[in-house]
């Protein structure tokens, strides 16, 4: 009872704070200083059409490297914990129910299309509202569909971890190349900026986002394989 009351008090207090924030909120009419810098200089600095991509991959590229590291750590911890969990009971897995004609045929049709769409989303990250993280998540959703159809399906663990570590390594290598050949770590001008709006433009941004997409897709897929292996006996 007292716990319920405390929860209620907390929520009412937070609600009062939120409503005072809401009542005092006036939408900006002008971009603030940082945003105006990005709006004015993105095209000349990076050649990317999508300013959000330019911020994430180039201006704040180091933070994105940190973000990718967090994801990598998450995938590692998930696999570590679940592999320890599996060791205790070595019972053979039960055979799952058949997925059914509809899901099997549908996934055979859809998985290549979803993979293609994911690749399109991360390759076009500098032009369209896409990017490596979104594209990687779409690629991983193909894995999810595959696991829904056949929970015992396994893609080589070696392949996934090789893909993941190679793309991570190349990401850092591109960053260091930026340090040597251009203005700083992860500077995208190591490649030509190209024509604005073309697929091969914006220097190293498409390359970096492709690497991020592959890495994120591989990490999410490995997390899903690990979680799917951890079926309760």
């Amino acid at each position: 009872m007292i716990k319920k009351f405390a929860t209620l008090v907390l929520l009412v207090g937070l609600g009062a704070m939120f409503s005072s924030l809401l009542l005092g909120y006036v939408p900006d009419t002008e971009l603030n200083f940082t945003a105006r810098y990005y709006a004015d200089n993105t095209v000349t600095d990076t050649g990317a059409a999508n300013i959000v991509t330019a911020i994430i991959v180039t201006y704040r590229g180091l933070d994105t490297l940190g973000e990718v590291t967090v994801l990598f750590l998450t995938a590692t911890i998930v696999s570590l914990i679940l592999s320890q969990a599996r060791r205790s009971d070595a019972l053979p897995a039960r055979k799952p129910l058949a997925a059914g004609e509809l899901l099997e045929t549908g996934s055979r049709l859809l998985i290549p299309l979803i993979l293609l769409f994911g690749v399109y989303v991360f390759v076009g990250g500098h032009l369209t509202p896409g990017g490596g993280f979104q594209g990687g998540a779409i690629v991983a959703s193909a894995t999810l569909l595959m696991l829904l159809t056949n929970p015992l399906k396994r893609v080589s663990h070696r392949l996934i971890s090789a893909l993941e570590s190679v793309s991570g390594l190349f990401y850092v290598v591109i960053g260091i190349l930026g340090l040597v050949f251009a203005g700083g770590f992860l500077d995208n001008r190591i490649l030509g900026l190209g024509t604005f709006g073309a697929l091969f433009s914006a220097g190293a941004i498409p390359v970096i986002y492709t690497l991020i997409g592959l890495k994120v897709g591989a990490e999410f897929s490995s997390m899903m394989f690990n979680l799917s292996k951890s079926e309760d006996h």
């Binding site: 907390l10 937070l14 924030l21 909120y25 004015d40 300013i51 969990a85 309760d232």
Partner: protein, 118 residues
């Protein structure tokens, strides 16, 4: 429009916190945390919105020269992109620990976890 998004975000945060504080099942708590983090993301994106402006993607419709007068703030969007990815990592870890706890205790009800209770 921006107020609709802000109110939705705040309500989602409150709903998520309520769920996380009142539910005893770990899976429900995980879902509640996800709802609350979605609310935070909506609020952040809504704060970057400016009436009458367009998405920060330059093309033939928005020239690079007058971009500063026509696009919305791109910084909150970049922040939220990061926040979504980190939120996914947190959710994956919560689910993994929930599985591990279930395996140890054979229950997901936190009131049955009494190891640290005296």
């Amino acid at each position: 429009m921006v107020y609709v998004a802000l109110i939705t975000g705040f309500v989602l945060i409150l709903m998520g916190l309520y769920g996380a504080l009142t539910n005893r099942n770990i899976l429900r708590m995980t879902v509640s945390f996800t709802i609350a983090s979605t609310g935070t993301n909506i609020v952040l994106v809504a704060v970057g919105f400016m009436p009458g402006r367009m998405a920060p993607i330059l093309d033939h419709a928005i020239a690079a020269t007058d971009a500063a007068a026509r696009i919305i703030d791109p910084v909150p969007q970049a922040l939220v992109l990061t926040a979504i990815v980190i939120g996914l990592g947190v959710t994956a870890l919560m689910l993994t620990y929930a599985y591990k706890l279930y395996e140890e205790k054979r229950t997901l009800d936190i009131s049955k976890y009494t190891d640290l209770k005296w």
